[in-house]
Symmetry: C2
């Protein structure tokens, strides 16, 4: 697959995901709640989680309608975590995707409720009435998503993140934190896409390894960009980790070693795909490249 | 069924639910998160939602193991909503179930994360690996719970609640708010229990009506107790609604009319059960009585 083919594919996926979000995130939820939810999730972000779901589904020739729901659900979980993470009691941030954060625009109470409702909506989207998605797949997708979002995944990682402010972590502890905080949902996105098909045990394990490598690579690069880029490029406040005295791959390994580590993780992702036995994993390979080469 | 039989049954259910919560709410989630989650959900509350699930399951001779999971999941959603609702940006309350609220004890950031992780955990509990719960039932339970917790249910009701501070609502608007804020999850609890069996269309509709009536009755009585009871009896701050200038059934209807309305709703719940065609709905009938007759 050429980069050009990939870009065309990705553009189409993003259009589909955005249209689905517009359709499924309610404009008419009461008392401003729908507006705050839509503000928090529409028109922004790289949609990396959605692309991972859809590329993994393609790689296993899976159920596209189910994968689109999983893509939207993973973006809803990601978006809700940003809404809560930006609040004054957490990171206290005012800028996200180049716009005022949800609590700045709608107040803290509605921001918290919007995040809560976005999490619930993710599971609503995964469990449509009728036969749009086979019930066994609905249950599997809910199981994967819930575990990646909860105490063993994202929320657990954020709790470690909170507790690590001003602390010195070694690389193993840092890796554990990042695998939960960011990696778990990225890996689950790959696995949700895979679950939309019927991959054999070898392909499933390979996609799990791929997802773990890409998930960690994403966070290593995030740590690098936090010190090397301006807020304007990132669309969020740069230099935040150092300012908040949070341990990062840059503070623990140094900038050059962090860069090398990101490249190693990309190579691990590629190696996992090579071992998967899947014929059509080119999009996943290119997504791993994009994660490491991105500048915002 | 005598009241004495009911009390023995209820005691056993509460033991089972508490044991399941102890087993499933992780003690070892990282960085204090598990401790905050357990503090927020263990050793407290009437467990009305759990009892509704289990009584409805009994009434349809349903799958007890699945119903226990649904009972725990509904209590997790309820408990997370209290943790978030008590935070300074919402109701700013310091007392819950006679103890300091979660954010008072663990800080706001960990309280928000604990609530978030409790919501995810509810869906983890509903989607166990293996064949403990049939996958079609897992999907159905997730669908019911997500819709009752989200924008169309609890979170939507709380958004209306926020927006109605200082506002005058008529009874229809107040009913809409309460049906979402409290009623949706109580009704879903009944329906989750019912989904654990194979009720016919008539029984399903009757249980849905029963759940709606009990759900609303619960909130009418809550509004009454808020003005007639002391904080010590309630285990939470009394007089809060008036202090916060929130419309309630008492402020809209007056105390006596609110009491009459609660009795009417109990009668509606009983009538729904009578129309259900179910032979063994006595526990549900007694639960409706308890909801209306409670003093805390």
């Amino acid at each position: 697959m050429t980069a050009c083919d990939f870009d065309g594919w990705a553009r189409q996926q993003l259009l589909d995901v955005e249209a689905a979000l517009v359709a499924w995130v309610p404009a008419d939820a009461p008392a401003g709640l729908g507006e705050a939810m839509r503000y928090g999730v529409l028109d922004g972000g790289k949609r990396l989680r959605a692309l991972l779901v859809l590329a993994a589904c393609d790689a296993v020739a899976g159920d596209r309608a189910a994968a689109l729901r999983a893509a939207v659900a993973s973006e809803l979980i990601h978006a809700y975590s940003l809404v809560h993470d930006d609040m004054p009691c957490m990171d206290d941030d005012v800028l996200r995707r180049g716009k005022p954060t949800v609590h700045v625009k709608y107040g803290q109470a509605l921001a918290m409720l919007a995040g809560d409702a976005m999490q619930a909506l993710a599971f609503e989207v995964l469990t449509p009435e009728g036969d749009a998605v086979p019930v066994a797949l609905q249950a599997r997708l809910c199981a994967l998503l819930a575990r990646s979002a909860g105490h063993a995944g994202m929320a657990g990682g954020q709790a470690i993140d909170l507790a690590s402010i001003g602390a010195r972590l070694d690389e193993a502890a840092l890796r554990d934190m990042h695998r939960r905080k960011t990696g778990a949902l990225l890996q689950a996105s790959v696995l949700m896409g895979a679950a939309c098909g019927i991959p054999d045990e070898r392909a499933w394990r390979a996609l799990s390894d791929y997802g773990a490598a890409v998930g960690l690579a994403f966070q290593v690069v995030d740590d690098i960009l936090d010190v090397t880029q301006e807020s304007e490029t990132l669309g969020k406040t740069a230099g935040k980790d150092e300012h908040q005295n949070k341990p990062t791959y840059v503070s623990v390994l140094g900038l050059e070693a962090a860069r090398s580590h990101a490249l190693e993780l990309r190579d691990q992702a590629h190696a996992a795909l090579a071992a998967s036995g899947l014929a059509d994993a080119a999009r996943l390979a290119l997504l791993a490249d994009k994660v490491v080469e991105r500048d915002s």
